[in-house]
């Protein structure tokens, strides 16, 4: 009998501890599948974030390191420059990549480092209890915006894909979601493409994945998936923002 489905080799046989309805589980799987697809597990190094995925190294069956909040872009730069033959990727949330680490992100992208960034955008600070993040939508209720984000005092949601696409140093930028099977399929291809870019030494790639946080959004997992579909994609449209072939 043919086996048509299995756990990726790049994921350990341990249960995830993420909340019900969290999309980290799906995204971990897609990243692991991409690593398996290119058969690069033995030479891939990942950088785990600070946030709910802080224990990503307990789930991914590859070499991983943990760095200070926001600093994965610096760490991947150092590792890739020292070991260009390794495949290096970072896995960050919106606080990590777009708030405390915004400078690191912009400059690694601007330098066009030949690395892959997986950016998990749930429009909120998850692990710390649901505070406003740079990516929080206008009007969205969070712990620090109980009346909804007021753009006059709290600024506007930060669109990372659009921002980085303007930098000449970037090669491939796409925004995807994993809230339904159609989107998961597209996300699978995008994440795979990000690793492919690095393997072919084509430069800097980033895949932004819109992700649910039912716990802090105060929704059920199904409501959260619907909210991504109906509301979140209006502020963060899915699609390819940049794709250079050389």
């Amino acid at each position: 009998m043919n086996q048509i489905f299995a756990r990726p080799k790049s994921l350990k046989d341990v249960p995830f501890r993420y909340c019900p309805g969290c999309h980290h589980g799906i995204i971990h799987r897609l990243v692991a599948e991409a690593i398996d697809f290119f058969d690069i597990r033995e030479k891939t190094i990942g950088v785990a974030p600070v946030g709910c995925a802080v224990f990503a190294h307990e789930y991914f069956n590859i070499d991983m390191i943990e760095v200070a909040h926001g600093r994965p872009p610096a760490a991947v730069t150092g590792m890739k420059r020292a070991r260009p033959e390794n495949i290096i990727f970072s896995y960050q949330g919106d606080g990590d990549l777009a708030s405390i680490g915004m400078a690191e992100t912009i400059h690694a992208a601007n330098r066009g480092e030949n690395v892959s960034f997986i950016f998990v955008n749930n429009a909120i600070y998850g692990m710390t209890g649901g505070q406003m993040a740079p990516t929080t939508l206008a009007g969205q209720v969070t712990k620090t915006t109980p009346k909804g984000r007021d753009t006059r005092t709290d600024g506007f949601p930060l669109r990372v894909c659009e921002l980085l696409a303007t930098l000449d140093g970037t090669t491939y930028i796409e925004r995807v979601a994993v809230n339904n099977p159609v989107n998961i399929k597209k996300a699978r291809h995008a994440i795979r493409r990000a690793f492919q870019m690095q393997i072919e030494t084509l430069g800097f790639s980033l895949v932004e994945v819109l992700s649910a946080c039912p716990t802090n959004w105060k929704m059920t997992p199904l409501e959260a998936n619907q909210w991504i579909e109906d509301i979140m994609t209006k502020t963060f449209p899915l699609g390819v923002y940049k794709e250079r072939s050389e």
Partner: protein, 216 residues
């Protein structure tokens, strides 16, 4: 009253921290010195949650409790992880609803009380999450660390006022725990249990005794 070092452990959502806060607040209202120190993981839901409460008439040197004299283990992991840290002669309250190991085999030199707190909470209040209050009732009546009145007072001040219904449910669960341990202690005295050659009368319980509550 010697310094009581109480350690409560369970998983996120079992009300471990609230248990400690109610105990600490009640002891404070009782004029004692108290410390309360939590420890919990990064997970937004679940995970391991510990809470150490120290109650004393004297000044308390440190809020950290490395060797508790009382352990409340709300689940199996807590029991297995911390049972060996309890000082000899101490007390362990285990939530039998969620422990699959037989706790009596862990230690012979501490008293281990194992009760089905989750089922008791469900029967008393309709909510399994009030198992912590059942355990608190047992703790307070058994060890006399603080009176029922002071516990009730602190439940009134700590349980959310917009959830007034929950205040009475918490009290129900608390009283269920108290009634349970009252029955247990009464049963032990009337049965005149023979354990290791000792006959028990009244409330004088030897430190070597293991309380078996399969009758519960």
């Amino acid at each position: 009253m010697e310094e009581k070092k109480i350690f409560i452990s369970g998983s996120g959502g079992q009300g471990v921290l609230l248990f400690g806060k109610i105990l600490a607040t009640a002891s404070m209202l009782d004029g004692k010195n108290v410390t309360w120190i939590p420890s919990y993981g990064a997970e937004m839901r679940g995970g391991i949650v510990d809470c150490a409460v120290t109650v004393s008439r004297e000044d308390i040197g440190s809020p950290l409790v490395k060797e508790p004299n009382i352990l409340i283990a709300m689940n199996n992991l807590a029991l297995e992880k911390y049972c060996h840290k309890v000082v000899a002669g101490g007390l362990v309250l285990a939530n039998r609803s969620l422990t699959d190991s037989l706790p009596h085999f862990f230690r012979r030199d501490v008293e281990i009380l194992s009760l089905p707190a989750v089922e008791m909470a469900k029967a008393a209040s309709g909510h399994t999450k009030l198992a912590n209050m059942v355990m608190l009732g047992v703790l307070c009546y058994k060890t006399k660390v603080v009176s029922r009145e002071k516990i009730e007072e602190s439940i009134y001040s700590l349980v959310a006022h917009h959830d007034k219904e929950f205040i009475s449910l918490n009290l129900n669960a608390l009283h269920t725990g108290i009634e349970y341990i009252k029955r247990q202690l009464y049963q032990d005295t009337t049965n005149n249990k023979h354990i290791e050659g000792h006959t028990y009368q009244g409330r004088n319980m030897s430190r070597e005794k293991v309380v078996d509550d399969h009758t519960a």
